[in-house]
């Protein structure tokens, strides 16, 4: 429905008669010329007559329309429609534009981030509030700085809105609302309003305390959130050494979440450094979290590297990639005590154990092994050392007693003290072990007393030998030692045990645990906690005297996992994950200058007073996710990358959940002071468009006249 503010001006529409009259009168008042050469004119006219006639009529129409449009424009026509935008009242008031700049606001809708649309809405509201309004802009991203006061400097506010970019932090709408309430409370204006431009993520609200009461500011929510915001995110990423994949093998466990209402198939890729080394697919149901494991090896020559898992893009890219620092295990220092040394290498008691702990005798195997005889253990005891070289248990994480005869009590005491202090000891029997002697001296190191061994093949014919052998069953699959093994682990289960030591009865069950048993129910591997340390008792030999386990694939991971468990180095680099906005503490060491270079040029330099005399520095500018590299300068002036100090920063996965908050979580709108007159209908003035039409018509008339 169209109305007019000045309907009397419509009388001017009669002016439409003017061009028509001019047209008609012009025809009548045409000068008459008797012309001889009319044939020429007629021929010319024939060619142009139609065009000229059309031009005359168009010209008449344009002029008539221009007159009509001028009259209608002067009458100021308007129409009205349902108010779509927010209720904005112009005039003196206090208002807060609360705008969501969490990383979710970077969700791309129709080719541009949602935040840009919200910023446009906010600028429109700011303009509608008028210059007398005192306004502040409060951002909802977690940890963002909030303004201290309201201002009438709308130009600056507009610039702030224009400069808004999605942060890498999750939303903290509750805190932003509270700050908005504080700002408005300090204002003397009667009318107070909070305009909310937010995705209203459920994860952005916490706590039950409402930011204001019934007399609080009015709350106007500008809902520009699409009905559906499907999002996929890599919400967690772990990197653990995987001995089963080789000495440099790393298992990457990427947790992927589907925050959508429909199932999705996701393509994931693993990159080590900048090189994609693996890809995989993952089917995710609606709202499902699933973990995808990648196995990869770190590049040769490195003990640590940054890696990332990313998924094919969706509307919100920032949470589609997650970084992790992948490190090989810390080296485990093992003292192998050979109780039955032989000159023939493969007959030696510890031949297989040494080979398994240090495969290929490579530096990057993660284990350093020193082999000594049981006599050389005398080096532990200064009084009984004799010719044995001095030996310090502080140089070792784990001691393996392989078929070692019972030790004297004083040496056992030294070892026991070391275990209580955190050391780990692995005991395997053999033909050199006398259970009775062990009972006398070795009990402080054992989880359980030893009994005589049994030979399961005793008296059996050679062809029956294998069938009477025992097998490992019922191992604790959840125990870190058995974590690398699959459920049925043929590498372990196929090994045949012909002779095992039996264990004596015990009542100590609190600190003792049987980790694996044989098919006859006898204990195969028993663990006990002694003070801060651990001891493991394996009831068969570490060589092939009593079993053929050393030639089975399970031998190497079993032994490596056992010594790592004893050394408690299962989770190398299990440092806390750094999220965007968190502080990272870096040890200074001998560095006199330390430079941190992050993604997007973020970084800092610590030198001079900022580093001198300090053991660590704190870096807080972790505003973007990615890899932060460290370049250090030591006291000699040598500058180079310090990979061991590099760290990664990821977005908070809570922010990836775009589920909208239920209305009950949103604060109630207060009265906001005296209510402004509201009108659900919005008047749309049309005279601007008509004025433009008049201009266009006049322009067209000018062009037609010139033709």
């Amino acid at each position: 429905m169209i109305g007019f503010l000045a309907p009397l001006m419509l009388v001017g529409a009669l002016a439409i008669a003017v061009p028509i009259a001019i047209h008609l009168i012009g025809r009548q008042r045409a000068r008459v010329v008797e012309f001889a050469a009319l044939d020429f004119l007629m021929a010319t006219k024939r060619r142009t007559a139609r065009r000229l006639r059309l031009r005359e009529r168009v010209l008449l129409l344009v002029r008539a329309l221009a007159c009509l449009a001028i009259a209608i424009a002067l009458a100021k026509p308007f129409t009205s429609c349902d108010r779509k935008g927010p209720q904005v009242t112009r005039g003196p008031q206090a208002a807060v534009l609360l705008i969501d700049d969490s990383f979710a606001s970077g969700y791309v809708i129709d080719g541009k981030p949602w935040l840009r649309r919200a910023s446009e809405d906010a600028r429109r509201v700011l303009a509608q509030l008028g210059p007398e309004a005192e306004v502040a802009i409060v951002r909802t991203s977690e940890g963002s700085e909030h303004p201290t006061e309201l201002t009438r400097d709308h130009v600056r506010l507009r610039d702030q809105l224009l400069a808004l970019e999605p942060s890498a932090r999750p939303a903290d709408t509750t805190r932003a609302l509270a700050r908005s309430a504080q700002l408005l409370a300090s204002s003397s204006h009667a009318r107070k309003t909070v305009f909310v431009f937010s995705l209203d993520q459920k994860t952005g609200f916490h706590g039950d305390e409402p930011p204001w009461g019934t007399d609080g500011p009015a709350l106007v929510t500008i809902d520009s959130r699409p009905a559906e915001l499907p999002n996929l995110a890599v919400t967690a990423l772990r990197a653990d050494p995987d001995p089963g994949a080789g000495s440099r093998g790393i298992a990457f466990d990427a947790e992927v979440a589907n925050f959508a209402s429909s199932p999705r198939q996701v393509e994931l890729s693993l990159a080590i450094g900048e090189h994609v080394v693996a890809r995989g697919m993952l089917q995710l149901g609606a709202g499902e979290h699933r973990t995808k494991r990648f196995i990869a090896a770190l590049p040769a020559g490195t003990r640590a590297s940054d890696a990332s898992v990313s998924l094919d893009g969706d509307g919100l890219a920032i949470d589609d990639r997650r970084w992790v620092r992948a490190s090989l295990r810390d080296e485990v220092r093992v003292l192998l005590v050979d109780g039955d040394p032989r000159t023939v290498r493969h007959d030696d008691e510890v031949f297989y154990a040494e080979t398994a702990l240090r495969p290929g005798d490579r530096e990057d195997s993660g284990t350093s092994v020193r082999v000594i005889t049981s006599e050389e253990l005398a080096g532990l005891d200064p009084k009984a050392r004799g010719a044995a070289p001095a030996l310090s248990l502080d140089d070792f994480d784990v001691v393996v007693l392989a078929n070692v005869p019972a030790l004297p009590p004083e040496r056992v005491a030294i070892l026991a003290d070391w275990v209580r202090a955190g050391g780990g000891i692995f005991v395997a029997p053999g033909d050199q072990v006398d259970p009775a002697a062990y009972d006398r001296t070795m009990l402080p190191l054992l989880p359980q007393s030893l009994r005589d061994p049994i030979d399961t093949t005793w008296g059996a014919a050679p062809e029956e030998r294998d069938s009477r052998a025992l097998h490992l069953v019922k191992w604790e699959a959840d125990h870190p030692i058995f974590a690398p093994f699959p459920k049925d682990a043929p590498g372990l289960a196929d090994a045949k045990f012909y002779k095992i030591s039996l264990l004596g009865p015990t009542t100590a069950t609190a600190d003792r645990k049987v980790l694996a048993r044989f098919t006859n129910g006898a204990a195969a591997l028993v663990e006990a906690t002694i003070g801060s340390g651990h001891t493991l008792l394996f009831t068969s030999t570490l060589d092939r005297d009593w079993n053929d386990l050393p030639i089975h694939p399970g031998y190497l991971p079993l032994l490596q996992q056992s010594v790592r468990h004893l050394a408690r180095k299962h989770a190398p680099g299990a440092e806390p994950e750094h999220l965007v906005g968190s502080s990272v503490v870096l040890p200074v060491g001998d560095l006199k200058r330390l430079e941190i270079r992050g993604p997007d040029g973020l970084g800092a330099v610590f030198e001079g007073d900022r580093i001198t005399g300090r053991s660590s520095v704190r870096f807080g500018r972790t505003e973007r996710p990615g890899v932060y590299r460290v370049i250090g300068t030591d006291q000699t002036g040598a500058t180079g990358p310090r990979d061991e100090l590099a760290f990664v920063v990821n977005v908070d996965p809570h922010g990836s959940d775009l589920t909208p908050a239920p209305p009950t979580m949103l604060p109630h709108s207060g009265t906001g002071g005296p209510a402004a007159p509201t009108d659900d209908r919005r008047r749309v003035e049309l005279w601007h468009a008509l004025a433009a039409a008049v201009l266009l018509l006049l322009l067209a008339e000018g062009v037609l006249v010139q033709r």
Partner: protein
Amino acid sequence: MTVGLDPVQLARLGSLPIKARVIVEGALSGLHRAAMHGSSVEFAEHKEYSPGDELRSVDWKAYAKLDRYYVKQFEQESQLTVYLVLDASASMRFRGAGAMSKLDHGALLLAALAYLVSQQQDKVGLVACGDRATETIVPARARTTHLHDLLGVIEQVMARGARGDESPAPALARIAELTRRRRALIVIASDLFDPEDETVRALAQLRAQRHDVSVLHVLDPHERTFPYEGLTEFRALETGGRMLVNPAAIRRDYLERMAQFLARCRGTLTAAGVDYHLAPTDGALEQALLDLLVARSRLMPRRAS
């Protein structure tokens, strides 16, 4: 150099014979000798030379024998026959910027020619065409009284005004019949506005019949420049057709077509050997006459040989 006659002054001169004489005298004052005389003559007798006689007529053989100058007297074997064709169709009534209409302009030129020819004792006739009902033919005669009759007819035509829409082509055909193969000079004053170019073709045909043909193409300056502005209703003089038009919108096309028309007339006629002269109504009458005479004098020796 000739001085142009003021048309207003010319109009005050009264009767057409006087006007014709004034025009001729004006034209001849710039011409050394007349070119409008018979070209085929025969020796008659000798006459003693007296000042004023042409030197080319002196009989040098007689001078060698008698030591006295004698001038050869010639007798015209046949007189020059000139037919003047005046296009008096309605289109000749147009008068734009000039002081006189195309009809008056053409009529005065032909009257002056008639006077000139008559003064030379040659035969002159007239055909006034344009309207079949009032078409006038004055046979060619050489008597002095005939000149008065002829000029009287021209005066009547001028007084009656241009009318009708017949082209001069039929009149030219009749002249061809009248001359009966005797060579004649035919001078036509017309605007040649003829949709089918009949007139131009008829003139070329006359020339093909060994007649000498001269065309005085009479046009008004407004017809050549089309200076009109503002919404104008043009009315055809011959057909009565009307056309309401903004002249500016069609000026370019009109001028293009007029230029093509003039080029076509000049090209076709000149190619046929017709002596073509553009005689705009704002031009001096005696100049147009002079141009015609000069052109005739150039053509005559070539054609006589």
